[in-house]
């Protein structure tokens, strides 16, 4: 800011002798170079990372998009050449009834999973804030262990728990006289099957939400809560009118991330259904994978992936806009 007036002051001096002028310019050069460095240095520092991102993310994304405009089958694997067919893959997707079913299923699945993750995660975070030191340590350790469990291990543990013959969950439910769950096949009906898969996904996602929110909760000024309580606010009101608005940015970020994760759930379904999910279990990611890699329609599969990325952006965008508006009205 101090550079501005200095520069203006220097302008009339240009009419002085040439020697003085050149001295002027030489004198001014250093600030310009310095300024340029100041402006450019963030970009320079970002450049290596940006370069890596372009190389490992941008280029594959470009290849994927190009592939989505091509007919690329089994024989193309060796020739490495597809046939350009324009928008054919895309028009085929939108005419495919299965696509609309899968898309709807993916949206519902995402909504349910994100909703459950956020609600349960928030409840656990609130619990953490009220626990004593020892119990808090115990619960945090538990959460970190869940977070650290690899998906493959987690899915297999859940599969054993609901195993058709030896599942401990089936055994427990029967012993508790909830009903006859011996030889209950949870995956025979997609509703109960998705219940198991949702349990796996939500179980795995809660730790991140709970720990992050707990960190946020510790920043809520105690005086504010105290003041509200003195004014006669109930717990729910305290949460709704004080805690939640203060933590809104964290909620927005966590929900956006959860949407992005749950929209592309693949591993849990793939592993829970023994690498061969029934059509009733297909989400967008599975649908794209099956078309591309099981049926060898690589171009068509790529087009589904592109549409999936688009749909996800749209969902996140709509959500973010809604949240920002909510913030503005407050």
């Amino acid at each position: 800011m101090s550079q501005g007036p200095g520069g203006e002051a220097g302008f009339p001096a240009m009419t002085a002798t040439a020697a003085a002028g050149s001295a002027m310019i030489r004198r001014r050069r250093r600030p310009v170079a310095e300024r340029a460095f100041h402006v450019l240095s963030p970009y320079l520092l970002l450049a290596p990372a940006a370069l890596v991102i372009v190389a490992v993310l941008g280029y594959p994304l470009y290849l994927l998009t190009r592939l989505s405009f091509e007919q690329f089958g089994l024989a193309s694997l060796i020739t490495k050449k597809g046939t350009w067919i324009g928008l054919d893959n895309y028009s085929r997707i939108f005419q495919d009834r299965q696509f609309w079913t899968v898309l709807l299923r993916t949206f519902v699945f995402t909504a349910v999973n994100v909703g459950l993750t956020m609600v349960l995660g928030t409840l656990i975070a609130l619990l953490l804030a009220r626990l004593g030191r020892f119990m808090r340590l115990l619960l945090t350790t538990g959460l970190v262990l869940v977070w650290a469990t690899p998906v493959i291990v987690a899915v297999n543990i859940f599969r054993w728990m609901v195993d058709y013959e030896f599942g401990v969950l089936n055994w427990t439910l029967t012993k508790l006289h909830v009903g006859d769950f011996l030889n209950k096949d949870w995956f025979a009906d997609p509703t109960t099957g998705f219940a198991v898969i949702t349990a796996i996904v939500v179980w795995g996602a809660i730790p991140f939400v709970a720990i992050t929110l707990y960190a946020g909760l510790s920043q809520v000024p105690a005086e504010l809560v105290e003041a509200a309580e003195i004014d006669g606010a109930r717990r729910w009101q305290v949460f709704k009118d004080i805690t939640f608005p203060l933590l809104l940015p964290i909620f927005v970020i966590l929900t956006s991330l959860s949407i992005i994760w749950d929209f592309q759930v693949f591993n849990q379904i793939w592993l829970a259904r023994g690498s061969e999910p029934e059509e009733e279990y297909w989400l967008m990611s599975v649908y794209s994978f099956v078309e591309a890699f099981k049926l060898g329609e690589y171009g068509f599969g790529a087009a589904i992936a592109v549409v999936m990325v688009g749909a996800m952006f749209l969902a996140t965008f709509v959500y973010l806009r809604q949240m920002i508006r909510m913030g503005e009205t407050r």
Binding site: P48, L77, N183, D189, G274
Partner: protein
């Protein structure tokens, strides 16, 4: 100052990485010399007749000193997906085993080496089983070498059958069902006991019911394919299957015969019978995984037809071995196949693996062995999948597994499930080959 030095550090690191990458790239051509061939076999060989593979490798190494053989066992569920990825990545094996219903698409796409010129150099090429040779032939050219054939029969507990008073093996489907009913009456109180263990996605045994009642999966008319699982005959077969499974089986309805391995479930004692391949009999007696004490309690008989005195047609499964066009060691690959399909190897396959060898000249081995005869008899009346280039896509899209699961869990009526599957099969088989 600090910022600048970090930037410089990052730059230096980036340069270092690219330098390392460049030097790695330039050193590659030095390692071109082939000292190893890679073989992909299905894991049936690993659990059923590993001795045949070991002896082949020993003989091969003795002949080609300095060449190493790397056998990698694959599972049926994803071996083609892996193979496709390996083709694209340039890491495809030198020899690969295909199920005989999987070959057409790869032959049509010209991804397998044309072996027509060398055909005679492979052992027994004149007496190869016709069904297997057909699965290796496309437009009159040979693209793979027959490996073995397999037929399914009923593998059962002789002691349990005897205990419920079934003295001779069932000669008709009605007798089979009646024997099962007796077993369920006596042993059914045991949790999870099945008189016939039949998982809900057991396509290959399930389709035999369709063929037994005169149905077919698909037919070709004037160059167009038509799915026919919704024909009256097919629906009769499927309905009969549903009734039998409902009464006799408590197997999981949403898994297939390999997950868990049905012969191992059988070996645990709570199964009266299952429909299995020849190699699954010895596998049930495996010392580590199975139960050797059942040795004298197991028998086998061909699955009876609904027409008394006849046998139900069995799926003539089997495998072929091929050389992908991308192989850089084709001559070595051919030689490995020659040893692998030689007479001495085929004898091991028959005696240890209980499979049907690839040549009619060795058929007599099966006839003499009481453990093999039921399977050889069953193979005499058999059926095979439609020979359309796109057939493997029907398997990969798991159309048939979906149908059987829907029927056996009761999520769809037989008619609806069969109609849906037929429509899908028609669509897939007539789609352009890619």
């Amino acid at each position: 100052m600090k910022r600048r030095s970090i930037g410089a550090l990052a730059l230096a690191a980036a340069l270092l990485v690219s330098a390392v990458a460049a030097s790695a790239g330039s050193s590659k051509p030095n390692r071109q010399q082939a000292t190893k061939i890679v073989i992909w076999l299905q894991n049936d060989a690993e659990s059923g007749w590993k001795e045949m593979v070991t002896s082949t490798n020993d003989a091969f190494k003795a002949k080609h000193s300095g060449v190493d053989v790397d056998v990698q066992y694959q599972g049926w569920g994803d071996h083609l997906t892996k193979f496709d990825a390996a083709l694209a990545g340039g890491t495809a094996p030198d020899v690969i085993e295909f199920g005989n219903s999987e070959t057409s698409r790869y032959m049509a796409a010209k991804l397998l080496q044309d072996l027509t010129a060398q055909a005679k150099s492979f052992p027994n090429s004149k007496t190869w089983l016709k069904a297997l040779k057909d699965s290796c032939t496309y437009n009159g050219k040979l693209y793979c070498v027959p490996y073995y054939a397999g037929a399914r029969a009923v593998i059962y507990r002789k002691d349990q059958y005897k205990a419920v008073g079934v003295k001779s093996t069932p000669k008709s489907l009605d007798q089979f069902a009646a024997a099962g009913k007796k077993l369920m009456k006596k042993y059914g109180k045991q949790r999870n006991y099945s008189a016939l263990y039949f998982p809900g996605q057991y396509v290959w045994a399930g389709l035999s019911f369709v063929y037994d009642y005169g149905g077919k999966v698909a037919v070709s008319k004037n160059g167009k394919w038509q799915g026919t699982l919704n024909s009256p005959q097919a629906i009769k077969g499927l309905s009969r299957l549903k009734a039998i499974v409902k009464g006799l089986s408590r197997a999981n309805k949403t898994t297939d015969e390999a997950n868990p391995q049905q012969s191992l479930v059988f070996s645990k004692g709570r199964v009266g019978a299952f429909i299995g391949n020849g190699w699954e009999w010895p596998y049930a007696l495996d010392e580590k995984l199975g139960n050797p004490s059942l040795k004298n309690k197991i028998g086998a008989y061909p699955m009876p037809s609904h027409i008394a005195g006849k046998f139900m047609p069995t799926f003539l499964g089997g495998s072929d071995v091929a050389v992908p066009v991308t192989s850089k060691n084709k001559a070595l690959a051919y030689d490995w196949i020659r040893i692998f399909t030689s007479n001495s190897s085929m004898r091991k396959l028959a005696t240890i693996g209980k499979q049907i060898p690839n040549t009619t000249s060795l058929a007599s081995i099966n006839a003499k062995n009481p453990q093999l005869a039921p399977f050889a008899t069953a193979a005499k009346s058999s059926w095979f999948v439609p020979t359309a280039p796109n057939w493997v896509k029907v398997e990969n899209a798991r159309v048939l597994k979906t149908m059987f699961q829907a029927i056996i869990t009761g999520r769809k009526s037989v008619a609806k499930a069969a109609k849906d599957a037929s429509a899908q099969i028609t669509k897939i088989l007539n789609a352009p080959t890619t």
